[in-house]
């Protein structure tokens, strides 16, 4: 007689929790392949943990976003937000699809240039731009989005010095009905500060005002905030047209679209809560088309979407190191990736699947990373089928921010693989080694030898 398939014995308390009321828990479907490439094979070839980015998903998402906007408004331009994921291959995919680059620092600027992006297709945001940064930006013809008066003055001086009239926009912050108002960035609309800045630019004549920029928040769960932001920016633009006879080239609505990740502590599942690209598009384009711009003078709509374009395309593959039973009876599973490389674990409750069939019986567990730090908690509560040492898991929707905010802390940063349109893997970024770590270290003379 052949033996039955073994599964660790589990007992689970049935409490009437809210999640229970919504029906029986979904079956634990194993996630074994990404774009047709086997997860097990990927880990075998590239090690664990492993970031995997799907080119197919990236392109599909971009096209869907572009479609949602371009079918509602005649002039749309996306600018890829480098800080969300500045891995060269990922940026190239977006640039190939027609996206510009949006950078917030000098090194991101140079990275965009290295990727082959033309200077006049780089939007330079951010509060920190040194004089040298501004000089470089002006020389490359980048679009500089001014954050504060000090920058405005410095840029004017640089422009005069170089004898060039750079194309600029100002960042505007406003009350969009969302809390908190990010009034630390840019010029405030309601207090008239934005108008002051515009006035200065137009009268001084050192800079060419080509657009207005705002970035109202992040992970916006309401498209309505964008409607208000667009209304206010449009009003400003029309005011400028009337007052100065000057029509702006574009309105940059920044980023901040939500993704299907579930926020920590959120009531609704992310997939249900997040508005779709179409919802955002309706809100923004509806306002733009009816704002009162003259026919033929509609400003180009620029979007600096980051998270919403790349989150879905990123996966983190990891393995189980060990299981523990905590003193309060909860099961703890220790994984080989922690908050050092999955930074967004602080904000999200990622969907985590098992990479192999692990039974249908879910157990309440807490997931820890490998760091010996108490904050290294991937997940406080999750229902997963019994996992054994060596089993693999797949974390979904990690494309945004993880590959830029990861720490070089306790464990070295792992491989990042890109699956191309045919599902073939390409190593985008090799795992770090000790040499990489000590590369920039130099030990002073007197410490060279160990004193015995």
């Amino acid at each position: 007689m052949s033996k039955l398939r073994y599964e660790r014995p589990i007992i689970r308390m049935l409490n009437s929790t809210i999640t229970q009321k919504f029906g029986s828990s979904p079956g634990f479907k194993p996630f074994t392949h990404i774009d047709g490439m086997s997860v097990k094979e990927l880990i075998a070839d590239y090690g664990s943990p492993l970031f995997v980015v799907s080119e197919r998903t990236l392109r599909q998402t971009y096209k869907a976003a572009y479609r949602a906007f371009s079918t509602r408004y005649p002039k749309v331009q996306f600018a890829w937000s480098y800080k969300t994921n500045y891995l060269g291959a990922v940026c190239q995919i977006f640039h190939q699809e027609g996206s510009w680059a949006e950078v917030v620092s000098r090194f991101e600027f140079e990275k965009a240039l290295r990727n082959g992006v033309a200077g006049n297709k780089i939007i330079f945001n951010g509060p920190e731009k040194t004089e040298d940064d501004l000089r470089t930006a002006v020389q490359y013809g980048a679009l500089i989005h001014i954050d504060h008066f000090d920058e405005l003055n410095m840029l004017s001086m640089v422009a005069v010095e170089l004898g060039v009239k750079p194309k600029v926009a100002i960042r505007v912050n406003m009350d969009t009905g969302v809390y908190p108002i990010w009034d630390r960035f840019g010029f405030n609309y309601e207090s008239g500060q934005a108008m002051e800045a515009i006035q200065k630019i137009m009268t001084d004549g050192f800079l060419e005002l080509v657009g207005l920029h705002c970035h109202i928040g992040t992970f916006m769960l309401s498209a309505d905030a964008y409607r208000i932001a667009t209304e206010k920016l449009s009003k400003l633009a029309l005011h400028i047209a009337e007052h100065f006879g000057h029509s702006l080239s574009y309105l940059d609505l920044g980023g901040g679209f939500a993704t299907k990740n579930t926020l920590r502590g959120a009531y609704l599942n992310g997939a249900d809560a997040a508005p779709s690209f179409h919802d955002y598009a309706e809100a923004i384009t509806d306002v733009l088309l009816n704002a009162g711009f003259q026919a033929g003078q509609l400003p180009t709509l620029i979007l600096e979407t980051g998270r919403a374009l790349v989150d879905d395309a990123g996966y983190l593959l990891g393995s189980v190191i060990a299981n523990k039973r905590l003193s309060d009876g909860r099961r703890a599973t220790i994984l080989d990736f922690g908050v050092n490389i999955l930074f967004t674990a602080f904000w999200y409750e990622h969907t985590i699947s098992t990479a192999q069939a692990c039974g249908q019986y879910g157990e309440d567990a807490v997931l820890y990373g490998p760091l010996c730090m108490n904050i290294d908690v991937i997940r406080e509560h999750i229902k997963l089928p019994p996992l054994n040492r060596g089993d693999q898991v797949v974390v979904h929707r990690v494309g945004a921010y993880n590959m830029t905010q990861w720490m070089q802390f306790i464990t070295l940063r792992p491989n990042v693989v890109l699956l191309d349109m045919d599902g073939k893997p390409h190593l985008m970024r090799a795992a770090e080694t000790l040499d990489d770590l000590v590369l920039n270290e130099s030990i002073p003379e007197h410490l060279m030898e160990l004193v015995h």
Binding site: K3, L4, R5, Y6, E7, R8, P9, I10, I11, R12, M13, L14, R325, G329, G359, Y361
Partner: protein, 81 residues
């Protein structure tokens, strides 16, 4: 290993602890273990039985069963001995 007499094990893997008022569900393997315990088997016997029945090695089964008993004790299904 004695199961608390107030605990009722039902079909479909449901367990009801009448004294505490808690309900639990167990997976098939867990239900099997409870059944064997009710029959009065010892730990070693339970492990042996499982090894015969299921496709796993003794070490794993022993570890898991021990762990399982810890949980059962925590929920006061197993009487602390």
């Amino acid at each position: 290993m004695i199961i608390n007499p107030n605990v009722v094990v039902r079909e479909g893997g449901f367990v009801f602890h009448a004294e505490r008022g808690d309900s639990f569900s167990v997976n098939p393997v867990g239900a099997e273990i409870l059944r064997l315990l009710r029959q009065g088997q010892t730990v070693a016997e339970v492990v042996q039985e499982l090894e015969n029945r299921y496709d796993a090695d003794v070490a794993t089964i022993e570890k898991d069963v021990t762990d399982f008993f810890d949980v059962l004790r925590h929920y006061q299904i197993l009487e602390a001995s």
